[in-house]
């Protein structure tokens, strides 16, 4: 921990007895993760065994792949990708992760090797 810096007099003090307000959002987002996994499972299972349970002669082929596999795994994967992109862009909340950012200033050359998109 660094010694106090001039701009931190009003920094919020972590309160031991009240829930961190950020946790409410964090809890909600964790439930989104659980809900998404359940939805993903139902989609995957439903198409795989719903369509795939028929006799092989009745299968149709989409882009050359058996229909059950196409809907369950190919469309399922594309759908989940789209959902996570929407989540990342519009749903999840941006928040500071440090308790008191004023105590953890980023040293100057800390950021010189970010990923290409960050």
């Amino acid at each position: 921990m660094r010694p106090d810096t001039p701009k931190s007099p009003n920094a919020p003090q972590p309160n031991q007895y009240k829930q961190d307000p950020r946790f409410k959002t964090a809890h909600k987002e964790a439930w989104i993760g659980v809900a998404l996994a359940i939805f993903n499972f139902i989609w995957w299972f439903g198409f795989a065994y719903g369509l795939g349970g028929r006799p092989v002669e009745e299968y149709t082929y989409i882009l050359g792949l058996p229909d059950w596999f196409f809907w369950s795994c190919v469309v399922g994967f594309i759908l989940m990708s789209l959902i996570t992109v929407v989540l990342a862009k519009f749903v999840l909340t941006d928040m500071p992760l440090d308790d008191d950012p004023a105590y953890h200033p980023n040293p100057p050359n800390f950021h010189d090797q970010k990923g290409p998109n960050s």
């Binding site: 809890h27 058996p66 989540l87 999840l92 500071p96 800390f110 090797q113 990923g115």
Partner: protein
């Protein structure tokens, strides 16, 4: 052996070395050495975070074993592999911001630091450290054997020299570069996996005369290859679905994944990693397993599953391109062992030495020790991988399922349930590991209990154990 295949592989190794050196130069630019070496200073951006999660998790089995099984079993195995798409978003969303915030608040550098702060119990810390060291050490050795075998089959070198090349490459960049080197090389390795997968898929489809033709060949050979039930009809819905626990949601309990969810720079990095991780995981899993299936009509009669991908690459691609593509499984193996190596080393230095032996060790000593232990561990693994002892192979069987059963509830419920306490955590870990080993033997003897994968019941039992332990002994809500 073909020189054309070797050149891209050698270039790949040189690039990986270079990244290790660059990462080691950046170390010590701020923060403490431990944070830097074992956690990359918590500064991973979205892209690197996503790639290091995918690459660490995508091991030899995703690139060699999995597609090899798909070759034998057909679409049923690809269906099973797609349960892994969930890991791309589940681990990050469920541990999520609360874990990131708390691990910063507790100044946690390892998963055990978090457990220790949350449960305030040396017993929990010791038991976790033992589990991590024993199981991950065994898992790491098994992966090294895989890496050695792959180089052996590609170059025609003897197994010993192949393993030596593999060991030196991994050791150098992990020892000097730490977590940052691991994460950065993972990003490069992940990119190689994506490109390699795509090239090989196109090559196989062309060699097979288009997907409809391949499908017709499969139908002529055995119609069950295109059903979800496997070539011999033995893949049941219950068995395949239970893989949602082993390779999907249960991954939340694996230390090598947990450590990554506390290493990112900001919540924005996490959001980005969530989407990139899902897309990359799904892309690699879908395409690698399709390659395995499509390889069947192109190159029939391969007996050893692990050889399907190397053989098909050499068959359908020009040598230099095959070299690039075959760097992908090598990247997958390397990026798994490098994180395991660092994790075992952090468990020894941080969780055992600094916690219990010498909490006030000076920074310089810690530094020497971290480099030293990482290097020595690597050498021990190399020696063991030359001739893996039975015990190691035996322990490796339990590594991932056992760790998931042990840690999933102490981590997840410890994070979200204030009534969880050390009694629950201890009982849950012991129940998880114990029942996993017991059910493993039962399943070997009598076939899968209730028709599901071995890991399923231990995860349920360890949940019950956690609830009973937490509620029965002493109920005291935890202040986060």
């Amino acid at each position: 052996m073909n020189i054309g295949v070797l050149i891209p592989l050698i270039l790949f190794l040189i690039a990986i070395f270079a990244i290790g050196f660059i990462a080691s130069k950046q170390m010590g630019s701020g923060g403490s050495f431990l944070q830097d070496y074992f956690l990359g200073g918590r500064e991973l951006g979205g892209f690197v975070l996503a790639m290091t999660m995918v690459a660490t998790y995508g091991s030899a089995s995703s690139f060699l074993g999995g597609p090899g099984t798909a070759y034998t079993v057909g679409f049923g195995w690809a269906l099973l592999a797609m349960t892994q798409v969930v890991t791309g978003y589940f681990v990050l969303l469920v541990l999520g911001k609360k874990f990131a915030i708390l691990s910063r608040r507790y100044d946690a550098v390892t998963m055990i630091d978090f457990l220790k702060a949350r449960y305030n119990s040396p017993a929990v810390a010791i038991l976790s450290a033992i589990a991590i060291i024993v199981f991950l050490f065994s898992a790491m050795t098994a992966q090294w054997v895989g890496g050695g075998r792959l180089i052996e089959s590609l170059t025609g070198l003897s197994y010993t020299s192949a393993l030596f090349i593999f060991a030196i490459s991994v050791l150098v960049y992990v020892t000097i570069g730490g977590f940052r080197a691991v994460a950065l090389t993972d990003a490069v390795q992940g990119a190689i996996m994506i490109v390699g997968t795509l090239i090989l898929l196109i090559g196989v489809i062309i060699a097979g005369g288009g997907i409809p033709a391949i499908m017709q060949d499969l139908l002529n050979e055995n119609p069950r290859l295109v059903t979800p039930f496997g070539a011999d009809g033995s893949l049941t819905a219950a068995y395949v679905s239970s893989f949602w626990i082993l390779v999907g949601v249960g991954v939340v309990g694996l230390p090598q994944m947990v450590i990554r969810t506390m290493s990112y720079k900001s919540s924005r990095a996490m959001h980005r990693a969530l989407a990139i991780g899902t897309i990359v995981t799904g892309f690699i899993m879908l395409n690698m397993h399709l390659i395995g299936i499509f390889a069947r009509p192109v190159l029939p009669g391969i007996e050893v599953g692990d050889k399907v991908i190397p053989l098909i690459a050499l068959e359908v691609l020009p040598p230099w391109l095959a070299g690039i593509v075959l760097a992908a499984p090598m990247a997958a193996i390397m990026s798994t062992v490098d994180s395991l190596l660092l994790l075992v080393s952090s468990a020894i230095v941080k969780d055992v030495y600094l916690n219990f032996i010498k909490p006030d060790a000076p920074e310089k000593r810690v530094k020497m020790l971290s480099f030293g232990i990482t290097g020595v561990l690597g050498i021990i693994v190399f020696l063991l991988a030359l001739q893996p002892p039975d015990l190691l192979i035996f322990l490796n069987l339990f590594a991932f399922g056992g760790l998931e059963a042990a840690f999933i509830w102490p981590i997840v419920l410890g994070l979200y349930w204030k009534h969880g306490n050390k009694y629950g955590a201890l009982l849950s870990m012991l129940t998880g590991i114990g029942s996993y080993i017991a059910i493993h033997f039962y399943n070997q003897e009598y076939g899968n209990l209730l028709g599901v994968h071995t890991v399923t019941l231990p995860v349920v039992l360890s949940l019950l154990a956690y609830l009973i332990g937490s509620l029965a002994v002493k109920r005291e809500p935890f202040q986060f």
